[in-house]
């Protein structure tokens, strides 16, 4: 039976258990003088029974699905005939794939060696056993749970606290998913990165000036080694982000100041949501806009001034990214500016300062930590932004600070290295995870620092 069928069956059993448990509690209560003689409401007895019936089997099912395949695979390989026994990890995976495909019937059996077919049959047999034993065990577990749950029902049994305890633990498990996600990210990028750093030293990766991540098809071909020096990528990322910040910071900040300090209520209610539209547009749309409208426009503009602008210039990608970040900066800055106490403005105005002088000399300095925190969050967004640079920035890793030239970024390289069919353990794919690790560390530090500043600043004026 398929896992999904078992799942549906278990839910059906749970519902059945609920009715049985509730009915039993009612039956117990009736001779005693109605449900007020019970500790909890009848439905809690029902839920209690349902939990007993379904939860153990569900946990079993989940564990089974995780460990099922690896166990079967190792048994099959262990029992395989010596003539196909794998010598290293690569051939191990290849063999496993082949046997799996044979067992699934994807690969035709004709023309395969006898030991391979035997291994495939062995796999089919084990899978069948696993499926049936899972079904059987799940049914036994839920039947046993059902009887256990039913037998515990008595007039003095405290069903509600028991049910609530389980539910609270379920809620806790949901909350902990955030931790598991973080853990999953760290483990997945760290594990692959360590593998990568085994073949390429960390110092070569972090300080190397040459990025050309091809791997050899033949041993003796030109450039077969591939070099993984990530400095050009870091420089490219910084260049694009710097262009984005040059566009976004002044415009975002000035519009926040205007909206918070000068604009009438009517202008505010129209202009603020209109600016926020920019934040809701998907990045792939910005990428299309940058690649097909802004980049050709800048190239033509440049050539009319006698400048050579690359058609994948950092300027186009960064400029459009800046436009995307404007609402991010403006809404964060708006929050901190309106949080500055009115008494500080009143004091400055009473001394005869004009409004703009008040803003520049009093409000902005008071709001500066918050604004800096917001800008740092924006920088972390710019560094991690992917689609705009994938579509509008180049592929060639160049070490340049010229925004009219084409550069490549960390995120572009991750996408290029990982789309398409590569072997999973080639240094080329692993390099993407090492880049991901760098990206994660940098954005994490920026975020923690920025959130810390913003939080501290908020407490200051509250």
């Amino acid at each position: 039976m398929q896992a999904t069928n078992i799942l549906i069956l278990l839910f059906g059993f749970g519902a059945l258990a609920f009715y049985l448990g509730r009915g039993r509690s009612l039956a117990i209560a009736a001779p005693l003088g109605g449900i007020r003689k019970l500790h909890s409401l009848p439905s809690y007895y029902g839920m209690h029974t349902a939990f007993w019936c379904a939860l153990p089997s569900l946990i079993l099912l989940a564990l089974w699905m995780i460990f099922d395949e690896p166990v079967i695979n190792s048994i099959v390989i262990g029992a395989a005939a010596t003539d196909i026994a794998p010598s290293d990890t690569a051939s191990y995976n290849l063999l496993l794939n082949k046997i799996g495909n044979l067992a699934d019937g994807v690969l035709p059996r004709a023309g395969q060696s006898g030991s391979l077919i035997a291994a495939a049959d062995h796999m089919i047999y084990l899978r069948e056993i696993s499926r049936w034993s899972l079904t059987l065990l799940a049914l036994v577990f839920s039947a046993a749970g059902l009887f256990l749950g039913l037998s515990r029902i008595a007039s003095g049994f405290r069903a509600r606290p028991a049910v609530e305890k389980v539910m609270q633990n379920l809620l806790l498990a949901c909350a902990c998913l955030a931790i598991f996600t973080t853990l999953g990210i760290v483990l997945s990028v760290l594990f692959e990165s360590i593998q990568f750093f085994r073949s390429v030293p960390v110092t070569d990766f972090v300080f190397g000036l040459d990025w050309s991540p091809q791997t050899a098809i033949r041993e003796d071909q030109v450039g077969s080694s591939g070099s993984f020096g990530a400095v050009p990528l870091f420089v490219g990322t910084l260049l694009v982000s710097a262009v984005a910040m040059v566009v976004a910071v002044p415009i975002g900040l000035m519009s926040a100041i205007y909206l918070a300090e000068y604009a009438s209520k009517r202008v505010r209610t129209v202009a603020k949501p209109a600016l926020e539209v920019l934040a809701g547009i998907p990045t792939v749309v910005y990428g299309f806009f940058a690649a097909l409208t802004v980049a050709p426009f800048l190239r033509d503009l440049g050539s009319s001034f006698g400048l050579t602008v690359s058609s994948e210039s950092a300027l186009a990608a960064g400029g459009v990214m800046g436009v995307m970040i404007i609402p991010f900066i403006s809404s964060l800055a708006d929050d901190v500016i309106t949080a500055v106490p009115q008494s500080m403005r009143d004091g400055s105005l009473a001394m005869g300062a004009t409004h703009s002088e008040t803003v520049r000399r009093v409000v902005i300095p008071a709001a500066l930590p918050g604004i800096v925190g917001g800008i740092m969050l924006a920088v972390s967004r710019a560094i991690g932004e992917t689609m705009i640079v994938v579509m509008a920035a180049g592929m060639a890793a160049k070490l340049t600070a010229n925004p009219l030239d084409s550069v490549t970024t960390v995120t572009v390289q991750i996408v290029t290295l990982l789309t398409g069919d590569q072997e999973f353990d080639s240094p080329k794919t692993l390099a993407a995870f090492a880049l991901g690790l760098m990206l994660f560390i940098v954005t994490l530090l920026l975020n923690i620092f920025a959130l810390h500043i913003v939080k501290k600043y908020r407490e200051q004026y509250e």
């Binding site: 609530e164 609270q168 379920l170 809620l171 806790l172 949901c174 909350a175 902990c176 998913l177 955030a178 931790i179 996600t181 973080t182 999953g184 990210i185 483990l187 997945s188 990028v189 415009i251 975002g252 000035m254 519009s255 205007y258 909206l259 000068y262 202009a271 600016l275 920019l278 809701g280 547009i281 998907p282 990045t283 792939v284 749309v285 299309f288 097909l292 409208t293 436009v323 404007i326 004009t354 409004h355 002088e357 520049r360 969050l377 972390s380 967004r381 991690g384 932004e385 992917t386 689609m387 994938v390 991750i414 996408v415 990982l418 991901g436 990206l439 994660f440 954005t443 975020n447 959130l451």
Partner: protein, 426 residues
């Protein structure tokens, strides 16, 4: 006396300077807002200007005779014969009959190039739906090739783009136009077909279905989990280091670049758990993890906004803490949570980068029908089309963007409407 007059005139002079600075400062603000709004306007005008044409397609009217011998088919209900049938011969013959003076291989090939190479299959579908048409002749509008489509549209707009056409083709189109045998009509292919290498046959149906399946899964997973986590953190969590740790994690996850979630999906779901690539399940899982922080944060805000007096009243009446939460706090916080869920879904709908990592970037012609069919999603389809060299795909891409933006606008306005309509002020 003299000194104070001196001071006064000094102040007056400086005052004009300061007032000018004030006016300048205000103008900086106005210009900044204007630039922001202009960016919105330019973006929308550019996309609509490029994409509006894709909602119409060029069709050519020809007299097609469904000749049994030409097709090489005897029995319409025999699938083997249908596969072997020479369907391309039908439109080719119709074109040769229309332009009888064309001879020579190259010219003939150009002539056949007027029509989409899927025209034969369109005729097959039509014949199968109406078997009585066999051995009859009818006048029918057939889909033109994408280069013809681009040329005809640009020619109607007054700036003909004939770079990919031969002179003869231009002449033929002129003839057809004079006879009224070429025209634009609603491009239903765009909405009814999956992806294709031929721009004129490509549609967004597959991508829209893929997006729908992925989003349904994301919503089914992330909303219950997110709301549960928010309830725990707001109502049950003890104030300790562990709770602080969970909170820091959630806030950080909200700011982690989306591509990192793609790496997570690739390493954990695909390589470790062996979930198949390119299917809505794995896309939904990755997007769930990505949207969870958003949903948790907005749900917590919604729970926080329920006044403590409600909780105290429920507890005072003897409700348990769980009954208080489930019967009183949750219903009151639900509109705020739904708003958060819609915003999270809008974010997930527009997301591209993590899906590239987990193989949802494949070229998929079939329209996905279940969670385990290979699929792509609308933003990834946009990315794929934007990368295609054919000029006609620019128009298609813009049209797909218009569809995507329409969905997003509907979602976001409904979130705003829901908040205004259902949210209670205490």
């Amino acid at each position: 006396m003299n000194k104070s007059v001196d001071n006064l005139s000094k102040i007056k002079r400086s005052l004009t300077r300061r007032n000018r600075a004030e006016a300048r400062f205000q103008w900086y603000g106005r210009v900044a807002i204007f630039i922001g709004l202009a960016a919105v306007a330019v973006l929308f005008i550019d996309i609509i200007g490029k994409g509006h044409g894709a909602f119409q397609a060029t069709y050519i009217n020809l007299n097609v005779s469904y000749d049994q011998e030409l097709l090489g088919i005897e029995n319409l209900s025999d699938p083997e014969q249908l596969v072997m049938g020479n369907w391309d011969a039908l439109p080719k013959l119709a074109l040769r009959e229309k332009f009888t003076d064309v001879s020579g291989r190259r010219d003939k090939r150009r002539l056949y190039g007027l029509l989409s190479n899927g025209a034969g299959f369109d005729l097959k579908d039509r014949l199968l739906a109406n078997p009585q048409l066999l051995n009859t002749t009818e006048s029918i509008w057939l889909l033109a090739d994408d280069d013809i489509d681009t040329y005809y549209k640009s020619w109607l707009d007054g700036e003909a783009y004939a770079a990919r056409l031969s002179d003869k083709q231009v002449v033929w189109i002129d003839q057809l136009h004079e006879q009224g045998l070429i025209h634009l009509q609603l491009n239903s292919n765009l909405f009814t077909r999956g992806d294709s290498r031929e721009p004129e046959q490509a549609g967004i149906r597959g991508a829209v279905m893929g997006s729908l399946l992925t989003l349904v899964l994301t919503l089914m997973l992330s909303f219950p989990i997110g709301v549960s986590a928010a309830i725990y953190l707001e109502e049950f969590a003890p104030k300790n280091k562990w709770t602080d740790f969970i909170e820091v994690n959630i806030n950080n996850l909200a700011a982690v670049p989306s591509i990192i979630f793609g790496l997570l999906g690739l390493a954990i779901f695909i390589n470790f758990f062996h979930v198949p690539r390119s299917v809505p399940i794995v896309g939904g899982l990755v997007l769930t993890l990505m949207t969870l922080p958003t949903i948790i944060i907005t749900s917590r805000a919604a729970i926080k906004s329920v006044p403590p007096s409600i909780r105290e009243a429920a507890l005072g009446m003897g409700a348990s803490k769980f009954q208080m939460v489930l019967h009183h706090v949750l219903p009151l916080a639900l509109p705020g949570m739904l708003t958060g869920a819609i915003i999270g879904m809008a974010q997930a709908l527009g997301e591209t980068a993590p899906l590239l990592m987990i193989g949802m970037v494949a070229f998929i012609v079939d329209i996905p029908g279940s969670f385990t069919d290979p699929a792509t999603v609308l933003p990834v389809q946009i990315f794929l089309w934007a990368d295609s060299p054919e000029r006609a795909f620019i128009e298609k891409t813009s049209a797909a963007i218009m569809v995507l933006l329409t969905f997003l606008i509907i979602m976001n306005t409904s979130a705003v409407w829901l908040r205004k309509r259902l949210e209670r002020r205490w």
